[in-house]
Subunit: 406 residues, 2 copies
């Protein structure tokens, strides 16, 4: 007997028939003798509708009321799935965040989980019942509803799996697992059977949308075995596990990309100590996250160029902030460029293998693709290139690292 | 300074613009120096959609999960109205049933209110804030969400007005108040400025849909001054008050009708003591409510006829139950007739005025309308007639009792 947490996303519970389908899938695990807790998202489209209502009423809304409104979507699905389970003779009950209770801090709209009361859920599981948990939501110490941020149901599921000491956390979604690259672009992409937490974390934070970064970080911290699999097909997905559970590690496991960043170059910058801090300090204070940074070698006349990337959605705000500090800091030009894509090659094997980065640079050069910015970590190499080369670069790299399906 | 409870129904909060409109209306009361608690229903159509989801999944549903699902509609509206108030600089916060807490018994789907914690709301009101309360919902002692039955937001509002010792409970709806008769049928119907609790209770239970019977009974018990008024027009509505607040009482205040009843006649019934109990006992045990009853004078041969009415929605079930007991009880025929309407003339003045009933019978006879069943109470005379005469009967009686608008 195992204890499982299953999580179903918005498309998996998109209508009544799909909810019934989910119930049958849950039943199969119950009949196999497992204890099952299920975490559900809102029916697809519902959360967006609720967010639209809030925005129509007020741009600068009270995040506590926002949370009260949008958390209702998961409430509906949890009740409906409990009913669908009962209808096929699986005893079940729904749990809302405040009923568990799943305690969070008071940062409404993107609250962090502080503590999960497991007593009520454990009692149900030990009774052979299925606990159906409304994802994405929690409750503060003063009994206000909070939400964990978009995609927060993944985080709910992993946190619950950790709190319940579950043997596995199955994240059901609309893809079959984690791929070596986005299969909509690279048709030869392969589904990975296993991937390490570290790689999954890089994949998620470098643009792969299959799992929320935060939920992967939590899984890694608590060593929760996570499986990503399709709710529409009946086959095993990708297991996210400890490195030592993977016998034969690939050097490169996957290639991620992100179109969500924009590049900014500051020209004619005084080349003096503390200049970087005088720029990135004000940006950080304005809650603007900077990702890649490269400072060019100083040209003549004591000036240099500085290039960095920010979220595309922050571009206008960033340029405005830079204009404000231009005089004080002293630079001659601000050159924004939203037409870039970040491509990242990821693999824990990099730690022990040399030449991964140079293979990347050579492969891109062979296609005439210019690299604008480079950043690396222990298990990742990222480059920024012109957006028009995105697909070509991904296919080229996929082949170069021997990832193509045979 | 007065303390008010305002309740807005589903059509009044049917979309974002209407919610903003409600916010402006609430603001006006706040600016007039009043303390305001607002009770809201779900946006029109939402509750029906949620109920449909539940029914698609399971006909025999767990009422606890049903409540979890359908209560979400009021949750959304309460959050949105709080936001709309804040957007026009009125401090406000939402309260869900469990946050108040509004404690109910465990009869899910039609729970009864047991206790209302007023401390948190009072604190907000005394702070000059508006408390926006999700109507229709409560919470059991073991923290499950309950609902009060359809139209339960009226009950929430009146109960809250009683608990908060409010000076008035304003029920905003899509009509301008309580009319002498349904103005869609009787064009000369007049809006009443005042009506007594007793009359309003009879009006509601005899078919007038403007207020839920249960909320009127509660208002009467706790002497809550209730006003029914339009959320789309800006004029006073109808005040439901104690009899001694009405200086010049009409003999007849209004005429109600209900198409929701069906007639059943049992023929060839043995005319012996205990025969009625042998029929109505089993029906009551099957949760079938019987309204009007008339037993005809015994014919020859020791047999008689018995006529009574039940809710139209219970007709098939009633006939089936009667078939089961036909042999034991002993009657020859079951004659169901759904094509009837119950017309009721209501007024506290009847207590001191004779001739009200006979005027009714004469007026109907003058139009050739046959009366099938009669029942009376201290302040009401009801008759059952063929449905095809409904409109004619209402107009005739409205004129006969001098209720027509001049």
């Amino acid at each position: 007997m195992a204890r499982l947490v299953q999580k179903f996303g918005g498309t998996s519970v998109g209508d009544v028939d799909r909810i019934k389908n989910v119930a049958r899938r849950v039943k199969r695990e119950v009949e196999a003798g497992n204890q099952v807790a299920v975490v559900v998202s809102a029916m697809s489209g519902v959360t967006n509708q609720l967010v639209d209502y809030v925005r129509e009423i007020s741009r600068l809304h009270d995040a506590r009321e926002y949370d009260t409104v949008v958390a209702s979507g998961e409430q509906v699905t949890s009740g409906l799935l409990a009913l669908a389970l009962q209808a096929i003779d699986v005893p079940a009950r729904s749990f809302l965040g405040w009923q568990i209770p799943l305690r969070t801090d008071g940062v409404h709209g993107r609250a962090r989980i502080e503590e999960i009361g497991t007593e009520a859920i454990e009692r149900r599981l030990n009774d052979g019942q299925v606990a159906v948990i409304a994802g994405f939501q929690g409750v503060t110490a003063d009994n206000r509803i909070t939400t964990l941020g978009r995609g927060g149901s993944d985080t709910s599921a992993v946190a619950l799996a950790a709190a319940l000491n579950a043997d596995r956390c199955d994240i059901y979604t609309d893809v079959e697992g984690v791929y070596t690259c986005d299969p909509r672009i690279v048709t030869r992409a392969r589904k990975l059977d296993r991937i390490t937490y570290e790689e999954m974390l890089e994949m998620a934070s470098q643009g792969a949308k299959v799992l929320q970064t935060r939920s992967v970080a939590m899984a890694m911290r608590h060593r929760v075995r996570v499986q990503v699999l399709s709710s529409f097909e009946d086959k095993p997905g990708t297991l996210v596990v400890d490195e030592d559970e993977i016998v034969e590690q690939q050097v490169v496991s996957g290639i991620a990309y992100s179109r969500d960043e924009a590049k900014i170059t500051l020209t004619g910058l005084a080349d003096r100590p503390g200049i970087a801090a005088s720029i990135f300090g004000p940006l950080a204070a304005s809650d603007i996250n900077v990702d890649m940074i490269v400072q060019n070698v100083s040209g003549g006349g004591g000036t240099t160029d500085l290039t960095f990337t920010v979220a595309k959605s922050d571009l206008d705000r960033t340029v405005a902030r830079l204009e404000e500090i231009r005089k004080d800091v002293g630079f001659s030009g601000i050159v924004p460029d939203p037409d870039v894509v970040k491509v990242s090659v990821i693999g824990v094997g990099m730690r022990s293998h040399a030449g991964i980065a140079s293979k990347m640079f050579e492969a891109l050069a062979s296609r005439g693709i210019n690299i604008q910015v480079i950043s690396t970590s222990e298990i990742k190499v990222s480059v920024l290139i012109a957006e028009e080369y995105a697909e070509l670069a991904l296919r080229t790299l996929h082949t170069a690292y021997g990832l193509d399906q045979v």
